[in-house]
Symmetry: C2
Subunit: 423 residues, 2 copies
Amino acid sequence: MSAKPGESGDAYRILDRTSLPAYLAEIPAVSDLLGPGAELDIQEIGDGNLNFVYRVSNSSDSSKSVIVKQAVPFLRMAGEDWPLARDRMRFEIRALSTQGELVPNLVPKIYHADEEMSTVVMQCLDDHIILRIGMIEGVRYPLVAEHIGHFMAETLFKTSAWSMGSIERRELMNQYTLNTDLCKLTEDFIFTFPYMVHESNYSNPATDQWAKENIHTDYEYKRDVLIFKELFVAKTEALLHGDLHSGSIMVNQTESYVIDPEFAFFGPISFDVGKVIANFLLCCTSHYHRSGGAEYRQWLLDQIPVIWNTFESRFLALWEQAGESTMLANGLLSDDEQSRFRSEFMMNVLRDAAGFAACSMARRTIGIAGVADIRDIEDLEIRSKLEIFNLKFSKRLMAQRKTLKTFDDLASLIHDNYSTPVL
Amino acid sequence: MSAKPGESGDAYRILDRTSLPAYLAEIPAVSDLLGPGAELDIQEIGDGNLNFVYRVSNSSDSSKSVIVKQAVPFLRMAGEDWPLARDRMRFEIRALSTQGELVPNLVPKIYHADEEMSTVVMQCLDDHIILRIGMIEGVRYPLVAEHIGHFMAETLFKTSAWSMGSIERRELMNQYTLNTDLCKLTEDFIFTFPYMVHESNYSNPATDQWAKENIHTDYEYKRDVLIFKELFVAKTEALLHGDLHSGSIMVNQTESYVIDPEFAFFGPISFDVGKVIANFLLCCTSHYHRSGGAEYRQWLLDQIPVIWNTFESRFLALWEQAGESTMLANGLLSDDEQSRFRSEFMMNVLRDAAGFAACSMARRTIGIAGVADIRDIEDLEIRSKLEIFNLKFSKRLMAQRKTLKTFDDLASLIHDNYSTPVL
């Protein structure tokens, strides 16, 4: 496979187990880390939707290891016929570097970035697993919710116009405007195809029937999805991770790392917030059937207020410390008025996060990229009951989002929904 | 004055009457137009806020003429101490070219564009005058409202995500992200300083007192201004003219030309719409004192529905013809649903346009760059009555914008306001 026409990279080639050792040997920092001249173990990991991800380690000392991630010029999960500019790796590298400055303890270290090869070599998180996998297995991570809240507050506030100057902010934004292919992917797969008949959609007979009767014909719901699509397309509020779900977070009992920011772009703050909340809800739904039972479901739901409260309080604290910004000049609002303005702002983030969570729940249920939490359930009838439960809640969240006044209102809505028997 | 540090342009120099002839003589297309070797008449024109604008003509045949516009690396109206990247001319040239493709009869022809000199040489509109000047004098232009509506519909719809593909749209947006200085100027002078005590503001004692009591202390109003500032800063909906007021339109009885798109950037559609409406209202206020009287005030008010209706019907027609777009995939909404969605969309544009009109009326009244319509009135007490009338209507528009359901609601609000005696 050669590079996509229009991409320069003459030197670009897709790396594999055979070619990786020679490639890595030429990078002194990486070679030193793995042990110069060492025999290497190479293992392909990752979900394989978009990229190749390898864990490479010293055969005689597995603790000497790195992750190699390479973008290929097509959508891997759809096949080579679906081109996707490997340019996206450039944006991932930029985002990892910006986030690395803002929250160094919550993102992996980069050892080597190679834009021509669309490849990054980074810290291997051997002591961590993907949060989604841990949550499917019913494992509790006491700090992950706080870490996620902190990650969002720092990265979103500090790249927003409430923190950055107008000009420096547009200059940062300019580094991400051309992350076009992945934005288009989100527009199609989160905000369009799941709500209509489309060949890319997942299929499960009872769920399909329900969607046909309750999604495809519900104007208000589809209209609201389009309103959130507009927000996604045209609200350049802050530098988003852009794909912040439980598959993009690696955890253990004490640490969390947010990975894979290749979807990074300037978008609405509430998109990251809503997506992460939706993924806790989706997992909670799955535990009606999984081994975790009521107690683990409760643990999952309990994480949502921790995520929100950490995010909100840290965001507000940063805002209070920020002093004058282009958006809020000294002397425009009194201290009391500022505090009132901030509360109203956070309420709007919450409402929009509920809307984005509604979109995420629906698309992860009936769109192409379902979550393993639900899709791994083999019994199609049970799975369908859980899917319809998700879709019903998506509609309820969407319809009621504008009535939310505080986070407690959202918490009640979630509590009501997850108190009902499902299976 | 040398170029601003960081701007390359070694060849850049500020042109003046003395150096202009030699500069133009070296451009064959322009030299041919003016008559090779001809003696030239050079006249400085324009409002002088930002740039130098010259009319250059053949001394023996004044019909052979061009306009030369050059950006200087500071804010002219504030002096050389206020730096302003002359980069802005690059964005003006791009916007003139995009708009020239979309509405060739409504923008001036470009004869020569010189990015290094931040200079453009373009069609001289000798048979036209600045709309603001004509309206101050009480002249009626039977077609200008239609032309403005048409200009906005074509340029705004066709650069929106309802028309363009996601990827080509981000590529176009990328050409404007760095028009940073002029965006910052709007953020400061339209959305910030006028609503607080600021050295840049205009001063007229009775108006100052009213603003102190009714603007500086009105949280809801200032909050709403901030909401519109957020929209301006972070809603990248379409390629705006960015400064569409009666000073940016040249007219006669049959033609209109929209000039000066140096503020062009991706922003909210409603910003252009609201600004243009505000400028008709401001002029209408001024005619309580000017010679036009009640009949001319009525003519001015009558233009607003023509602008809106032309804009709306053309925008909707383009939308219906556009077929499938990234934003509205075939099969997502039925025909009836699409038509309902479009109506709701236009209602939101109207509401936001009312909010932006409110901001424009206030800033043009108490901010640094007042309109000549009002500022040229010499009697400070009369002027102040008109200013307070504008500010009151700004507040009313802002407060009531969310109740607007159709354009007629806005028309009634305007009619009520302008039916009361003012002086």
